[in-house]
Amino acid sequence: MVMRRLLGYLKPHRKTLICAFILLLLATGAEVAGPLLAKIFIDDYLTPGIFPAKPLVFLGGAYLGLLLAGVVMQYFQQFTFHRIALRVIQQLRVDVFGKVQHLGLSFFDRMPGGALVSRITNDTEAVKELFVSVLSTFVQNLVLILGVFVALFLLNVELAAYCLVLLPLICGLMVVYRRLSHRAYREVRRKLSELNAKLSESIQGMNVIQALRQEGRLKREFGVTNREHYLANMQTTRLNGLLLRPAVDLIYLLTIMAVLTFFGIGMEESAVQIGVLYAFINLLDRMFEPVNQMMQQLSFLQQSLVSASRVFELLDEERLAPAREGSGNPEITRGRIVFDNVTFSYDGKTDVLKNISFTAEPGQTVALVGHTGSGKTSIINLLMRFYPLKKGRITIDGVPLERYRDDELRRKMGLVLQDPFLFVGTVEDNIRFHHPDLTDAEIREAARFVQADSFIEKLPKGYREPVGERGATFSSGQRQLLSFARTMALNPRILVLDEATAHVDTETEEKIQEALSRMRKGRTTIAIAHRLSTVQDADLILVLHRGEILERGTHQELLAHQGLYHKMYRLQQGMEESQTG
């Protein structure tokens, strides 16, 4: 099943594949033709006393010509197979990466990032081994064996027919070896991962081990696994010793014996064909190396198939990102947001939002405040359509959220995340973020608008300054300003802010606050606020607690109410004063 699906990836390369096959057949033909020429030479021309100068030149020339042609074809054939394999893997990678792009956040929540990366890169790399070495080894060697048999039949039909007995014998050996080695290698891998797990755990928890004085016991336990790993390795060594090269060589010797017997006995009846005998032995010699090579690939084959099945599992994943429902192309023009009795749960068991209702009129700012886990982020996740909504309704400009096209939503709603994510590239790349239609002037205007231009222009390469992994070379304030610029470059109608908690220096902080208030002007804004001082001018403040709106109103109204908001406000005031005073 997995194998058939993998082979399906070869379809677009059918023509090249056929060419490679023809080259392979020709090259193999040339390879087996060599001994045939030698046979003709030895049989027909070589007799003690008379030097066969003319046939030697003629046949020798043919031999060398064939050799050269065969070698050239062999090169191109191998290279072509390799190239096809690489293209196949590229397609597989692009497919799986593309698939992952369209999966919903609910999928990412459950799948550890490291494991996902490993599926897309390492597992496909393991499949590459299947196409590059395993498949090409099998194809080449099978053709070679076929070629040898063709040659054998040309030489002597009767003997060649007897040699067919070899095929089931070798196949049987392969089947037995594959079955046994699969089990043995799996045991080795299991023990190795156990060993590695123990080792990495011990390295990470060494202070606990030492504090509890368990070094001796753990050393012994590690020793036990270490020894089991050794024993598992010895098991595969034994298996390889019994069934791989030594066994194949033994079969080869038995075959030689049979051939000698055949010719020895047949001698009395027909004219002696020393050349045939020579060619037979020589060809058989060539047949057994491919058998050895194929057998050595068997354990890799198994591993590649396991990796492939993991990749396909990801390709078949069904937790897709919520997509548009219904038809038409509604547009966001004013930016009026309504949450109507929204209840939401990530796992279907515990509700993280309960009956949330509020309205953000065009141009208004709605601030969400509350303790960790109160549901602020979930509101944003729903508004951004990161998760499907099951209970309640969210509308923008009177149209249900799910009716909007993806690009309309993404273009008109600007999200600024708490952790400003910068990626590898230049400053400009980070602001542009794959929007080729943005002009340089628009990029610079966005930077100027959030006041990031002053520090960008001081960089040695300005807008072309390289950004390292996660933007580590920039301060957290600078990273935030850059992510603001990225959002503002698109000039969104609606702004969704997840305010950063990271502390930045006062000067940058002022810039950030100023940029934020400029950004909010004229745009409907939904903001998560950690510092209450930043949302005092909000049109509506929602105080969330355990998924419910506990208090709502403006800053003044809420203070007058003397409830939870009031306490939070006083607490933060105290903190700020203790920091500045």
Partner: protein, 598 residues
């Protein structure tokens, strides 16, 4: 060759395996000359029409005996040589592990886990290959190759041998050359692969941003570009890779051609029989492998040497904290005294602690509070000797900690670190980690003390539930309580709780501390906490800031001082109110907050 000298100690240790293994290998090599010889005899007999059934039977029987003998011997040298190599791997891995257990936290802080793992896996693997396949290819290429050449020269024709060998050095040269080209291109392909890996990593960790901006298609395009680069770099590898096979075919073909052509001359002038020529070409086939092996050998030895050097240099790191000569072996006991004028971490510039003088009488409780990084953990680590302070600065029962053996010191201390660490084992095994022989009753008792017993019973498999990386996920609070149970099982003279209850709710914390006070009467306890309610009952409380004591006294005294401690107590009270969703009470604390800080 140096790697073989470096590993000589091991070859000596495994004398029997290596001498026998190489011996058997040589016998097999000798036997391999036999089949072509029989082929020649029979061919010649057929040619001369002198073949009799008896003759054929005799030689075929001998051939069969040789074949079966070879099969058995080939099996045995594999077991002997590869077995020894696997034992080397096992031994090195064991040594590394033992070495790690002697190292102080400083050693682990300065190295990444991934790197240490790589030494114990990849490097050990490379050395293992050198001691197994390396020795094999060494014997194969030099001894076997030499033997085949010798028998070709001695038994058949030295002239034809020389002729046949003319193209062979070119093969060795070409293979070496290709290897070098491959290596360069391979590195580029690796770099391209790591680019694509980083791209995926970035995409996955930035998935929310990508989705928020709707840039999925653009990301796909950029991934597509990178994946094309991987293909391109790998194709350039394939270009060289595909050269190996054809080159070998070419050289072998030319060698065969020369052999048959010149052989024809020798056959015509009677220097050779046709059978000898046939035999000769069979030998020639046997030479291909030794020539290739020589190419591999240099590669294997280079890698083995680099890896072995890395392992050795790791094993040569001396533990920076170890037992003194004549150290006290009796478990530490008595009052704890810190008399530190200054302590600075080896790599740091500013001191982590300065002027800390405190005495904790036996049976007393010391509370330590302060912001993150104020030096609380450093204080405990000095006591545990995880880091080495100035001599005599920390003592237990009047004896400096460095005068105890590590075992004597640590046997007296139950330590619950800040970053609770559970092992991939059952809950029972985790609690009994420091005393594997503990009975179920004892384990249950400490689990009750740590208020985690009920939680455990709620799990499907109770005390037999697997935790850690591959087990069930416990909450932070549950993990912390398990760590506490683990320390309590030792019933230590000194218990250190380093912010060990931060993820436990205040009510449970209070209950745990209360039962500890009862249970551990007469025993010393050191507690660091962010939540101040946890240390209210301490006999003395130290407030640390930037490594120095800024306030000290009992809870009551500190409240009266109206300093950082008093301000923090009120703040935390208010926070707890907000966590509960607010209410009318607590206004007093609210009112006093701003004033205390001004």
């Amino acid at each position: 060759m140096r790697i073989f000298r470096d590993l000589w100690w091991f070859f000596k240790q495994e004398k029997k395996s290596y001498i026998l293994g190489v011996g058997v290998l040589l016998v097999v090599a000798l036997l391999e000359i036999f089949p072509p010889y029989v082929v020649r005899l029979v061919v010649d007999a057929i040619e001369g029409e002198k073949l009799t059934t008896g003759f054929l039977l005799k030689w075929l029987t001998l051939l069969a005996v040789a074949g079966i003998t070879m099969y058995i011997l080939r099996y045995f040298w594999r077991i002997l040589l590869f077995g020894a190599a696997f034992r080397l791997g096992q031994q090195l891995r064991g040594e590394l592990y033992a070495h790690f257990t002697r190292m102080s936290p400083r050693f682990f802080n300065r190295r990444r886990t991934g790197d240490l793992m790589a030494h114990a896996t990849n490097d050990v693997q490379a050395v293992r290959v050198t001691a197994g396949e390396g020795v094999l290819t060494f014997v194969d290429s030099l001894v076997l190759g030499g033997l085949v050449v010798l028998s070709m020269a001695v038994f058949i024709s030295w002239k034809l041998t020389l002729i046949a060998l003319v193209p062979m050095p070119f093969m060795a040269w070409a293979v070496g050359r290709y290897g070098k080209w491959m290596h360069e291109r391979f590195l580029k392909a690796q770099a391209a692969f790591s680019d694509i890996n980083n791209k995926v990593q970035e995409n996955i960790s930035g998935v929310r941003v990508v989705k928020a901006f709707g840039r999925e298609e653009a990301e796909k395009r950029s991934f597509h570009r990178l994946s094309l680069d991987v293909v391109e770099k790998n194709i350039s590898v394939a270009r060289i890779d595909a050269l190996f096979g054809p080159t070998i075919s070419l050289i072998v073909g030319v060698s065969f051609f020369l052999t048959v052509a010149f052989g024809a001359v020798y056959v015509t002038n009677g220097e050779m029989t046709i059978g000898q020529l046939t035999q000769f070409t069979l030998y020639l086939g046997q030479l291909i492998w030794p020539m290739l092996a020589f190419g591999f050998l240099t590669n294997i030895m280079q890698r083995g040497r680099a890896s072995y050097d890395r392992i050795r240099s790791l094993l040569n790191v001396e533990p920076d904290i170890s037992d003194r000569e004549g150290a006290v072996t009796r478990p530490a006991s008595g009052e704890i005294r810190f008399n530190l004028s200054r302590f600075t971490y080896p790599e740091a510039e500013t001191p982590a602690l300065h002027r800390v003088q405190v005495t904790v009488p036996q049976g007393a409780t010391l509370g330590v509070v302060g912001k993150t990084g104020s030096g609380k953990t450093t204080l405990f680590r000095l006591l545990l000797r995880e880091v080495e302070g100035p001599p005599g600065s920390v003592s237990i029962g009047g004896i400096p900690v460095e005068e105890y053996t590590l075992s004597a010191l640590r046997s007296a201390i139950g330590y619950v670190p800040q970053d609770h660490f559970l092992f991939s084992a059952t809950i029972r095994e985790n609690i009994a980690f420091g005393r594997p022989e503990a009975t179920d009753g004892e384990i249950e008792r400490v689990a009750r003390l740590a208020r985690v017993h009920e939680d455990i019973l709620r799990l499907e498999e109770g005390y037999d539930t697997l935790v850690g990386e591959r087990g069930v996920t416990l909450s932070g609070g549950q993990k912390q309580r398990l760590s506490i149970a683990r320390a309590l099982l030792l019933d230590p003279e000194i218990l250190i709780l380093d912010d060990s209850l931060s993820a436990v709710d205040a009510k449970t914390e209070e209950k745990i501390l209360e039962s500890l006070r009862k249970e551990r009467a007469g025993k010393t306890t050191l507690i660091a906490a962010h939540r101040l309610s946890g240390i209210e009952h301490a006999d003395e409380i130290l407030v640390l800031e930037d490594g120095a004591v800024i306030e000290r006294g009992t809870h009551r005294e500190l409240l009266e001082q109206e300093g950082w401690y008093a301000w923090m107590v009120r703040r935390q009270y208010l926070e707890s109110l907000i966590e509960k969703g607010g209410g009318a009470d607590g206004d007093e604390a609210v009112a006093r907050l701003p004033q205390t800080s001004s």
